[in-house]
Amino acid sequence: MSELAVPLSSTQRAAFLAVLRRDVYVTWRELPAFLAQVILQPLFLLFVFGKVLGSLGYTQHGYADLLFPGLLALTAVITGMQTLAFPLVAEFGWTREIEDRLLAPLPTSFVALEKVVFASLRSLVATLLMIPIGILVLGSIPWRWDNFPLFLAGLFLGTLVGAGFGLVLGTSVPPARINLLFSLVFTPLLFTGCSQYPWPSLERLRWFQVVTACNPMTYVSEALRGALVPEVPHIRPWICLVVLLGSVTVLLTLGLRGFFRRAVD
């Protein structure tokens, strides 16, 4: 990992930006596919849980308000993870596309960090898109400016948690097992991340509360709830931010290690 310590020269910065530009260019050219990939799932969750169940009287008044921040968290984490994990498995596994970037005059760690930056950007865009969609589907969304810094911090760390998960999974899952990613990783992460329920309310289901406390996404959901619907009981924001910072550090360290293992024999 000696390459990590090298400061970026101007040519290396140019190479980093060129690799990032390539990813943005590809996304831009495939915009409809990008939108479908990132928006459909939270859109349906929002529609069914926030609108349909509420209209039919199966959920209490106000449920949509506590669901909305949770869905923002879910979009931030899942988009970051998907953006990074699936292409990376393919690039290391069968397309070998990444080789041209690994041979660019750029430290290997920065090829990995570019993926994190790009995944984070993409998931930020996807999450912000949920705001107008929420207004359209629900009629109104919970919003307050006084906690905006907390909202931004939670969102930003959420996208990084997703990207970190993506880097870890993308470098550790063999191509033949890519289907298992969905069933064994995505689905549990999706439903144990407190996006559909506030964490303190799980006290009546103690074992599940413990399980959800192990999922970093829980702290994204809770931080965003703290920012947008502070009247709903939630985990204290500073705890959320500390846990998220720790999670990002651990995930990126593991992910970078995995990336080196795949990139250099």
Binding site: E3, V6, A15, A18, V19, R22, E97, R101, A104
Partner: protein, 325 residues
Amino acid sequence: MDAAPTVEVADLVKRYPKAEVNAVDGVSFAVAPGEVFGLLGPNGAGKTTTVGVLTTRVRPTGGSARIGGIDVVADPVQARRQLAVVSQRSNLDRAISIRDNLVFHAAYHGVPAHERAARADELLEQFGLLERAGDRPDFFSGGQSQRVMIARALMHAPRVLFLDEPTTGLDPAARLFVWDRLRELRERGVTLFLTTHDMDEAAALADRVGIMDTGRLLALDTPEALMRSLTGETTLELTADGPADGDVVDALSRLPTVERGERLQAGPPGAGPLRVRLYLTGEASALVAPAAALLADRGLQLSDVKLGTPTLEDVFIELTGRTLR
């Protein structure tokens, strides 16, 4: 070799984790600027690992490797500016057109923006790809992908181009096209480093050939010198019709300049024509008349004569006792 070598490897050793033997086991050589260097050997000989170290993708266990004087382990980023790699399998970026493949590659390597498009068009033209510049590489044939990858590799004007099995699996026309382009590159002074298990390719392109097996460099010289080094310089293959006599091969082997002779047996003994290959230390043509006379004495009529020089494959067999494939 007056100029400083473009590629320099000294006592290179690589042992993969959990492996019991070294994949590369103390290899040293140097490649001069503008030289076409071929590393010949069967799969698993250590060629790919050697190139992996030189192209910063494999960390050596011991020894050193330099590209243009830059230590690839100490400064991989600088080393990557000097080199380009064309792999055996396509690793083109499938999400973008082949022109974009070239242009983005140039951008990664810091080629100024205003030069990228012109250089890409020039190379696409040279490699006969201009009409397909806007296509994505998904449905390209092996030969087309190979050409795109070589063109892409040249976008940042590398000092040395590494090509792994550049024409394995290509049809003969595509193979000749790639060979011609590589010869043009040599004329322009680009150093080429080929790895191949195809002796024809090595003999056709390389100025010098290193023969590798089980992690070691067994021989290194020009293809001609390697072939001359064989004990028998030439071979003479004789086919004769008629009742084959048991000791006719022994008799032929006792002729002057014959090192040894062997009977090439197609069917069961006694069936079909007699075929004999003689390994000679002298000119093969000088031996045709005495051999024909000897056969005629025994009532055999010479029906076919083949004069042969040894190939790199023979050199490999001589060195390792095995065939290349």
